[in-house]
Structures are given as structure tokens and as C-alpha cells.
């Protein structure tokens, strides 16, 4: 492949002077192509891999009325929220598993198993969340009891205004809120 290693053309005078000149020309060719290649590939890599500079869409959305939530009993709430999808803002249906504790504290779990993203459900008899895909089992605090799930259930940021439950961004456990 490398043309510099090609045998000299038959009949060409292979003096050392000629070889230096030839080496210089070949070096110049490689350098120029190297520069062009870098100038094209570096921006292309940034273009493909860097996250878009979109404004954050982590607005609070109303998910329901806390008065209607049973105490210590997980319930699946359905709400709509806007999400920026590339060049579009789409309104999509989202769900959350919400538990209200006795002191009116709210925990809202993201609806997907942390293993491979299957939708889990609540097993009323066992009082645990079960993912049907690979049998990951979560406690009502979101802890992994058994199964391949690598981390506890993700939680929505949650706050209460009046009697309304507002949900914010979905965060992985261990991720500090800012």
C-alpha cells in the first residue's frame, strides 16, 4: 500500500540526492492530506458525538391530585409532558409509580426497569415491583431485591403545590439534584 516502499522505477537514477528530494515530496503529500483529514474529521466527530445545545426541558408538570392518592399504596399515574425531540417539541404520555407515605411525602418512580427498560408492575400480594422481562424485583422504596437490575428504580423530582403533585426530571438514583 505504502508507495514509499515501492521499488524505484527501473532506470531511475537512484542517487542519494534524488532520494532526499523524493522523501521530501512524499512527506509533503502525507502532511497535507493529514491536515485535510484532520480538518474534516475532527468537526465531524464533534458534530456526531456532542449533545445538542438545546435548552433544558425539565419543566414541572402536574401529575395529579395528592388527595386522591392512597397512602403507602403504589399507584400508576398518567400525565402528559413536553419533550424536545431533535428539532421538534413533542407532547407525550408519561407514567409514574407514585407512593404517598403517611407524612404526605411523595415518591415517584420512573416506569421502567433499570435493567433493560421493560415496564414493571406492582404485585399487590407481594407488595413489590416486579419486572416481567428478567424477574427483577424492587421494594416499594425502589431498592433491588433480586434479579439483574443494576441500580434502584429511577425517581422523578417531585413537589407538592397546594393539593397538586408536580413532577420534574427523572433522575437515576445516586444522581445529585442541582
Amino acid at each position: 500500500m505504502d508507495p514509499t516502499h515501492a521499488k524505484p522505477r527501473p532506470g531511475a537514477a537512484a542517487t542519494s540526492n534524488n532520494n532526499t528530494r523524493r522523501g521530501f515530496l512524499v512527506g509533503a503529500i502525507y502532511s497535507l492530506w493529514g491536515l485535510i483529514g484532520t480538518a474534516l474529521s475532527a468537526p465531524a466527530i464533534a458534530y456526531l458525538l456532542k449533545a445538542p445545545r438545546s435548552p433544558q426541558t425539565g419543566n414541572w408538570v402536574e401529575a395529579g391530585d395528592i388527595a386522591k392518592l392512597p397512602q403507602d399504596q403504589p399507584i400508576e399515574l398518567v400525565f402528559r409532558r413536553e419533550r424536545k425531540d431533535g428539532w421538534k417539541v413533542i407532547s407525550e404520555k408519561k407514567t409514574a409509580w407514585v407512593i404517598r407515605s403517611a407524612d404526605n411525602r411523595i415518591v415517584a418512580f420512573g416506569p421502567q426497569c433499570t435493567h433493560l427498560g421493560c415496564a414493571y408492575h406492582f404485585e399487590e400480594d407481594a407488595g413489590k415491583f416486579l419486572c416481567p422481562c428478567h424477574n427483577s424485583l424492587f421494594s416499594t422504596e425502589g431498592r433491588v431485591l433480586t434479579g439483574p437490575a443494576p441500580r434502584p428504580l429511577d425517581r422523578y423530582e417531585a413537589k407538592i403545590e397546594g393539593s397538586k403533585l408536580l413532577l420534574g426530571r427523572l433522575r437515576q438514583s445516586g444522581e445529585r439534584s442541582v
Partner: protein, 545 residues
């Protein structure tokens, strides 16, 4: 390490013969006279590959339907890292490709390199030239802004005028003169699906034929020993490619390609213009008025292509020295004069586009939602040179505080007192009093209260016509009867969307004598100096719908 590499390369060579092929390609013998004049073909090929690469890059973030096309391009430009660079390279690369392809053709033409046995090489070159123009024509529509839309309307209308073929042409282009989803889909399909493989195939055959017949010698070459293509000529080609690429990259970085307003088929004020290399065609239509127009729109281009095709069959003498190619030089000179004249005439006769048509939508347009009072504040901010002591979030040490910091805003009353007599409000301050009327100070305060670190860049982009127009709007108290962006009274009609309802001349004449147009109107006549009138109407026409 080296032995291992050699072993791998040896294996590859044995299984594919790739080293032999590469060597045969590189050690091709070329005539002794070959040199810098032969670099254009390589540069054209390189630029085509850059177009291919940047085109793919753009395509993977682009939604090829009208509307979405515009939004996704805006997303590429505003939100993706290096997105503007990719589009810049693709846009300027197209212009450069046209230039280099034409230079390549001129070089071959004046040297007479199309002569026997290289006629087919030339014909394929002509086909590649036409393909280049087809890329340019179809790619022009893809941003789906006003410029793209209206330019394509003109182009498809011209195609529709062709004698006999006209109706079929316009049907093929997706409708009878109307540019819409079908035209868009066809242009996109041509641009990305049909043209690239066709071009690659033709380039392949073109290069194969160049190799088959060898690089065209000039008389006298036969007496001199031939030389290898590598490394001397390869370095010349590489150097020329590097220069072209450096120029292209500089253009792409330094000259922003604007994105105009989303295509608006109801816009009656837009002045369509084709890309600069098509201006001569556009202008030539004016030389043939009325029913003769078809001569310029279809006749002359067809004749030109036919001439190019027939060149190697008309001029069948043996190769002669460059100094004896007077006819060829004459033709090139004539073509150059004709092209330059027509292009210059087209540029000179282009009426200045409206200020609002030049608004660049690939920059943030938050300023559009400012109320007239806030927008007028921008004008006063500029008029009073506030920026000489205050920064607007751009950093850098200045005498006064950064005005995007909400903490310095407080409230309007405090700010106005502060403007009037800074030292009374803040003892020891070096800020001079702002010499403006109460209303003007209100405007200035309204604008400053709107500033945040996030929107300051976007608000600073407010074009001069909008700021000054809003200032006139405020001075004339238009807001006492009209609303803009939801602010103002409703005695008169709201002014957003005025561009959709009225022509500019209507609006300007209406100012002078409203009753003449609407006998029931309660609007008093306004006699503004004509420059103020133009600025005010530009502001009103540029309002968001």
C-alpha cells in the same frame, strides 16, 4: 512490529493485489509537459468528495419534508456542534465545485485535449458539468426558506416554458409551476439518491478513460522522456487540493450562510434571486422580452450544451501548440465577457431586498417577541452608547456592571431615577446622567428589565431597522390604538401579520391619508420623513405573524 505489518500487508497483497494496483496507478507515466495546469480535475474530484461527505453529515440530521426540513436545518445550525461548519462547507463547496469544474473544462478546451482519441472523455465531462448544475438547482430548494422556495418557483417556471416538453417537464418536477411537497420530494430524491451514484459512475468512467488514453500531451512531448505520476504530479495535485480546501474552510468559517424566513408562498414582497452562478441565465431572460423569452430560457442553454457536445467532432485537427489555438481562446474570452456582463448587470439591477427579508433565522430571534416599548429601548441603549461602559453578558471588564445580572435591575422606578441622576441614587458612581425624555427612559428601563444572561445574546441580535422602527412607533404613539406582540390598544387592528394583509406601498400611502383607503377610518394622517416611513414599515412588516 514492522515485520508484522509487512506480513499483514503481504497477506493483503496476495489476496487482493491491492499494492500492485496502487503502484500501477501511482507510477502511471505522464507526458513531460504535465504540470500545474492538470490539477483541476483532481481538485474537482476532491471537492465532489467533500460535498458527498458533508452532504451525508447534513442528511443524518435533516428531515426531508417541507417545514420539517427548515426546522431540522435550523436545529443543525443552532444546536449542533460544527453544524454551521458542515452546512458552510456544503454551501460554499457547491460554489467552488462549479468554479473548479468550469476551470477544468476551460483548460481542456484551450489545450484541445478533447481531440481524438479523447472525445468520450470530453462528453462524460460535459455530462458531469450538467450534473453539477443539477445538484446546485435541486440543493437550492432543500433549506425550504423563502430564498429556496422563490428561487425554485422561478426555475420550475422556466422549465415549464420549454417548447413541446414544457408540460412534461413541469409534471416531472412535481406540478404545474407550483412548488410544494411533490416538487420537494423529487428534488430531494434527485439530489441524494439519483445524482450521487450517477456522478460516481461517470467519474469512474472519466478517470478510467483518462488512464486508458493517458494524459493529453502537447506537441513536442513525444521527444521528451515521460515521467511518473508519483510523487511530483501527486504533490502538485495535493497542493492544489490543499489550497482549495483551505479557501473553502475559511469561507465556511468566516462567511455565515443565512437561513431566511420559512418559505412563505403568500409573500408578495420577496424578490427571488438564483445562486450567483445562475445569475447570467436569469439576466439573459431580460434580453428577450415577451414571446421571445423562450430563446433565452431554453434556446440558448440548449444551444450551448449542444456546442459543447459537438466540439470534439467539429474540431478534428491534430493537437497544435497553445499559441495557435486562437479560436479556442477567442471563444473562451467571449464566453467570459458574456458571463461577466450578464452577471454584473444582474447584480446591479437587483433592487435592494427588504430589511426584514434579510433577517437571519439561524440566529436566535428572541428579539422578535419584544414589545415596541422594549424594542425602542434597544435603540436608546445603542443611541446612548450604554455598551461603552456596560457589558451585556459578553464578559470583559468594563467600567459599569454587567446589565444582564438581574441584581442590578431592581425595578423600573429605581432605574429611571438612576438614569436621571446616577450620583443621587448611588453616591460616588461615575455614570453620567442619561439625557432622555421620561418616555424614552421608560423604554430603556423596559428593555433592561427584560434582559437575562440567557437571552442577552439573542436580544443583542435585534437588527437596526427593528430597533429604530420601534423607536419611531413609540414616538408616534402608534400603541395608543394598535397592538404589537399583544401589547397596546385595540382601537385599530393589531399589527402583527400586516405583511400578510397589505403591500408595503399600501401601508406607506395609507399613513399619509388613511381615509383615502378606508373612508370609515379614524386614523389621523401621518406625514413622516420618507426614511422614517421606510424604517417604520420595515419594522411592522418584520413582526412575527
Amino acid at each position: 512490529m514492522k515485520r508484522r505489518l509487512d506480513a499483514v500487508l503481504g497477506w493483503l497483497e496476495h489476496r487482493t493485489g491491492i499494492r500492485t494496483v496502487t503502484q500501477r496507478f501511482l507510477y502511471e507515466e505522464i507526458p513531460a509537459s504535465s504540470g500545474w495546469r492538470q490539477v483541476f480535475g483532481s481538485v474537482a474530484l476532491f471537492l465532489f468528495l467533500v460535498q458527498f461527505f458533508t452532504g451525508v453529515m447534513l442528511a443524518i440530521n435533516y428531515a426531508p419534508t417541507p417545514g420539517d426540513a427548515y426546522n431540522s436545518l435550523r436545529y443543525i445550525l443552532m444546536e449542533l456542534t460544527a453544524g454551521r461548519l458542515m452546512r458552510g462547507l456544503h454551501h460554499w463547496g457547491a460554489s467552488m465545485l462549479v468554479v473548479v469544474v468550469v476551470l477544468h473544462m476551460v483548460q481542456v478546451f484551450v489545450y484541445g485535449a478533447y481531440k481524438k482519441p479523447r472525445e468520450v472523455t470530453w462528453l462524460i465531462g460535459v455530462a458531469l458539468l450538467l450534473l453539477t448544475f443539477t445538484y446546485a438547482l435541486t440543493g437550492y430548494l432543500l433549506p425550504w426558506d423563502n430564498r429556496a422556495y422563490w428561487g425554485t418557483v422561478v426555475a420550475t417556471q422556466i422549465a415549464g416554458q420549454a417548447p413541446l416538453l414544457g408540460p412534461y417537464m413541469s409534471r416531472l418536477l412535481g406540478g404545474s409551476g407550483a412548488v410544494g411537497v411533490v416538487t420537494f420530494a423529487r428534488f430531494y430524491g434527485l439530489h441524494v439518491l439519483l445524482l450521487p451514484p450517477t456522478t460516481l459512475l461517470l467519474i469512474g468512467v472519466h478517470v478510467f478513460l483518462v488512464r486508458k488514453h493517458g494524459v493529453a500531451p502537447i506537441p513536442g512531448d513525444e521527444r521528451l522522456p515521460k515521467k511518473p505520476f508519483f510523487p511530483g504530479q501527486v504533490l502538485r495535485d495535493t497542493a492544489a487540493i490543499f489550497v482549495a480546501f483551505a479557501a473553502l474552510f475559511t469561507l465556511a468559517v468566516a462567511v455565515r450562510v443565512p437561513l431566511e424566513q420559512l418559505a412563505d408562498p403568500s409573500d408578495t414582497t420577496y424578490i427571488p434571486r438564483p445562486e450567483w452562478y445562475f445569475l447570467f441565465l436569469f439576466q439573459s431572460l431580460k434580453l428577450f422580452p415577451g414571446s421571445l423569452e423562450v430563446v433565452a430560457s431554453v434556446g440558448l442553454p440548449t444551444l450551448t450544451v449542444l456546442t459543447l457536445v459537438l466540439v470534439p467532432f467539429i474540431d478534428r485537427q491534430k493537437m497544435v501548440h497553445l499559441t495557435r489555438r486562437t479560436v479556442a481562446f477567442g471563444m473562451v474570452t467571449l464566453a467570459l465577457i458574456g458571463w461577466t456582463g450578464l452577471t454584473a448587470a444582474a447584480i446591479l439591477s437587483t433592487p435592494a431586498g427588504s430589511a426584514w427579508a434579510a433577517v437571519d433565522y439561524s440566529l436566535p430571534t428572541d428579539w422578535m417577541s419584544l414589545s415596541p416599548e422594549e424594542m425602542a429601548g434597544v435603540a436608546y441603549f445603542r443611541q446612548e452608547n450604554c455598551a461603552s461602559c456596560h457589558s451585556l453578558g459578553e464578559g470583559g471588564a468594563k467600567a459599569g456592571p454587567d446589565l444582564t445580572q438581574v441584581s442590578v435591575h431592581r425595578n423600573a422606578a429605581w432605574m429611571i431615577d438612576h438614569f436621571r441622576q446616577p450620583s443621587a441614587v448611588r453616591p460616588g458612581t461615575s455614570m453620567p446622567p442619561v439625557q432622555l425624555s421620561d418616555e424614552q427612559l421608560n423604554s430603556l428601563a423596559a428593555f433592561l428589565l427584560k434582559l437575562t444572561p440567557r437571552n442577552s445574546l439573542a436580544l443583542r441580535q435585534a437588527p437596526e431597522f427593528a430597533a429604530r422602527g420601534a423607536m419611531i412607533y413609540q414616538e408616534q404613539r402608534c400603541g395608543a390604538c394598535h397592538a404589537v406582540n399583544g401589547v397596546g390598544a385595540r382601537f385599530g387592528p393589531p399589527l402583527n401579520g400586516l405583511a400578510k394583509r397589505r403591500s408595503r406601498s399600501w401601508v406607506e400611502q395609507h399613513f399619509a391619508d388613511p381615509r383615502k383607503f378606508e373612508p370609515q377610518s379614524t386614523m389621523p394622517p401621518y406625514r413622516l420623513p420618507s426614511s422614517d416611513m421606510r424604517t417604520l414599515s420595515a419594522y411592522l412588516f418584520g413582526l412575527p405573524d
